[in-house]
Symmetry: C2
Subunit: 477 residues, 2 copies
């Protein structure tokens, strides 16, 4: 029976894309809905998002940000104010044209992002240098009418947070942009155990309307890149068209400097594709909705074993997120497979002989390793074990990433590498969009970022001219 | 200067409606937006909503519910499945007709509520009695294209939570409906200090598509009623049209019984209108984003006083939500008025002589009372004081409500009472919608609820026939 459960998941190596969908549906993270391109986030998937929100929100507040809520709707005229911005988003806007039985006099966009509506308010609220900085974040839904969609990675509607700040100086805005990028890196690496590369986007890949876009790029276990979070220095682009000015201490009227930054439910996709295996999800302990699944194995002593299982459940439930699986209609084997598929970091097995020996068996989801642990040591051991699993999962992903970064010698080698191998290309780049485009056209790989690393580049991998920087290129989600 | 701040708020007694708007704008709870009927919830207002979410979410989880997320969009065909439901909501639906540059083949509603989209998923997920009950809640935004709007009370878009549950039996569904009504009552009375009357809605006032609607009704300080939360027993209305069936233990295929229940950001409106006064907001300590505002009064000893103020801030900041107002550009008097306007329950004043005496002055927002408290007693005293303020604000509101419930002797007396007095009418009612409508037409008061109280009614206040129940009638928001 347990084998049947697993058979419903396509092996990762055979078809990564189908494996991804199978895992999402079978583990009940999400489901397709009757609305084109929109998904339902089911309770188990939403519990992951709630944890993500909790960890991020704490970090946002610790860095001085406050939450607010701006309207879902943006009048067309407002969306059109910043030229690059509207060009970037107009093709994927959902338009409201009727309210009740009446046609609206002006079309209204369902927000694809909120810079314009927020700027219209900042222009009203900000008067003096005393009002700055403005540090606001919003948790909400946004809509982008994408042609092809995939659960968590690209859906018509998704959930995210968007930070929007206004500052007195360019330096302060740049500091904020980088501060929030670092908040994202720390969260994604520490809590999601997903290693990333921090860097700057190229001109062609930056946010529509930004001066500079910074990104954290993760490597999925098929070698493709996933942009896990972005932080934009907006400069004064929006500030000028929305007339956001303040009276400075020197008596001068000046435009503010702005930033915006966001991460979304696509991080759940990153989590799945970084850690999952043929048996399903693997969720790092810090973010796991259930950290320990207790599976009693009754043998012929149901009451004897169940009593103990309940005692252990009650003993650890305050400190850990734990579930006691006392369902009668499933075999222990089926339960093992189900909790593995759901990615629960630790399975706690307990049978009649364990009860007699005053021990339990802990099974690690990350390595499959089994440990017999004495009851009196359980709380201590669990703590250490969960820490170790968190660390090990990060190390596994970090090693995988390091092993799949290639440094080709020339353009021909770059093309060959991208054909034959999965992973990222690290190469010298002259900075021209011509060379960037040529790579994209001939390989399908895009420029992911110019890393915040040692920058002592030689010659551009494409044109051979003096390179400006090192850059990562990869196929991506 | 402090007087100028207050002058910007219209006295409550002169124009309650204008007072309400003034308080919202001046205390920076919310602001008007460039989108018709939509408001911006500013950080101070949103912090109240975050607290509400926290207290409610804990209660939902403690009663076994899990959060999930369903699409913002509902295809027109889905919305139209339940006849009463679509008739109730169609006049206020915002319609999406275009995605990007393309016209959609079917119009899509921006959700006014999510019964239909959720039922379409439940019909897929629920197969067996083992799948029941399904206990899901969603925090989200909804849109109702209302003709006339007012911040928090009635806006085109608002934030809320909607619980949607499915059960095996009618009894279980009724139990759940009443359980969640009690959760709402407990939250609104204990945390918001807003007293309510629990009861059942009449046929004409119930939710479109429900079997029965239960409500908690609060009395605002102008005497009008505000529906603070509703819980609906949906019976099998949706279950039948959406074909939500399960195989029961007896081998029979049966339709589930459903409930839905919700509260929204209109609770912030209830909070303002229950507790506010001519000086602005009064927020009960449990829900207050800031519980204590420290205002140092320097005299000629700025450093001396500020040092101590910071020590006190650091001493209590872990246990209380506290703000140290060390702004140099405002006088203490101005600060007093501002924190009063913002409804902060306790102001902590400290001047040079207080520092010498090792004491601080605590000023209650609810009564204006001042207390000198020794530094070493501060943490203890604050605890008691905040509890006492919470209790006192509830008692004040409860007394106001009790004093403004009228029991007229006949229909003429009822009409006279509603003309001359503010508050609720408590009267016998025969249960006919004719009598209900007559009251509405002649007085503007609607039937608020049939209370869960002693029911030993005499004759109907309108027609004089034997009454079926006691009922509350009032003008409402």
């Amino acid at each position: 029976m347990e084998e049947n459960l697993l058979k419903e998941i396509t092996p990762k190596s055979r078809d990564f894309s189908q494996w991804y969908i199978d895992v999402i549906l079978k583990a009940e993270l999400a489901d397709y809905s009757p609305v084109r391109g929109c998904m339902v986030i089911r309770p188990y998937g939403f519990a992951i998002w709630e944890k993500m929100q909790y960890f991020l929100d704490q970090r946002f507040k610790a860095t001085g940000h406050k939450n607010a809520y701006f309207p879902l709707f943006i009048p067309e005229s407002l969306l059109q104010k910043e030229v690059e911005h509207v060009e970037g988003f107009a093709p994927e806007v959902a338009w409201v044209t009727h309210g009740g039985h009446d046609e609206l006099s002006e079309r209204i966009a369902v927000r694809p992002t909120s810079e314009t509506i927020i700027c219209s308010m900042y222009s009203k609220w900000i008067r003096s240098w005393r009002d700055l900085p403005v540090l606001i974040n919003q948790w909400c839904n946004v809509v982008r009418w994408e042609k092809s969609t995939k659960p968590f990675l690209r859906t018509a509607e998704f959930l995210w947070q968007e930070g929007h700040t206004a500052h007195r100086t360019e330096e302060e805005a740049e500091e904020e942009t980088l501060r929030m990028l670092e908040v994202y890196r720390d969260f994604v690496e520490s809590d999601l155990a997903v290693p990333v590369i921090k860097g700057k986007k190229s001109e062609s890949e930056k946010f529509a309307g930004a001066l500079r876009t910074y990104t954290i790029e993760a490597m999925m276990s098929d070698g493709k890149a996933l942009q896990a979070g972005t932080s934009h220095n907006l400069g004064q682009h929006f500030s000028k068209v929305f007339d956001i000015t303040y009276l400075d201490q020197d008596g001068q009227l000046k435009n503010v400097w702005q930033t915006s930054w966001g991460v979304s439910t696509r991080l759940i996709g990153a989590l799945i594709m970084t850690h999952g295996d043929d048996r399903g999800l693997r969720i790092p302990p810090k973010i796991a909705p259930i950290q320990v699944a207790i599976v009693p194995i009754y043998g012929k002593k149901k009451e004897f074993v169940l009593d103990k299982a309940m005692k252990i459940f009650n003993m650890i439930k305050e400190e850990y997120r734990v579930e006691l699986d006392d369902r009668d209609e499933y075999t222990p084997g089926w339960k093992f497979s189900e909790w593995e598929m759901k990615g629960v970091p630790v399975r706690l097995e307990i049978g009649p002989r364990d009860v007699e020996k005053q021990q339990v068996i802990l099974v690690r989801r990350d390595t499959g390793e089994k440990l017999a642990v004495k009851e009196q040591d359980l709380e201590n051991e669990l703590n250490k074990l969960l820490d170790d699993i968190q660390k090990n999962m990060y190390d596994q992903a970090r090693n995988f990433m390091n092993e799949n970064i290639w440094q080709p010698t020339d353009f021909a080698d770059l093309k060959k590498t991208l054909e034959e191998k999965r992973g990222f290309i690290k190469a010298n780049w002259c900075g021209s969009s011509d060379c960037e485009n040529l790579i994209k056209e001939e390989t399908g790989a895009t420029m992911r970022c110019i890393p915040f690393e040692e920058q002592n580049p030689g010659k551009c991998i494409v044109c051979g001219k003096k390179a400006k920087s090192i850059a990562y290129f990869a196929k991506s989600y």
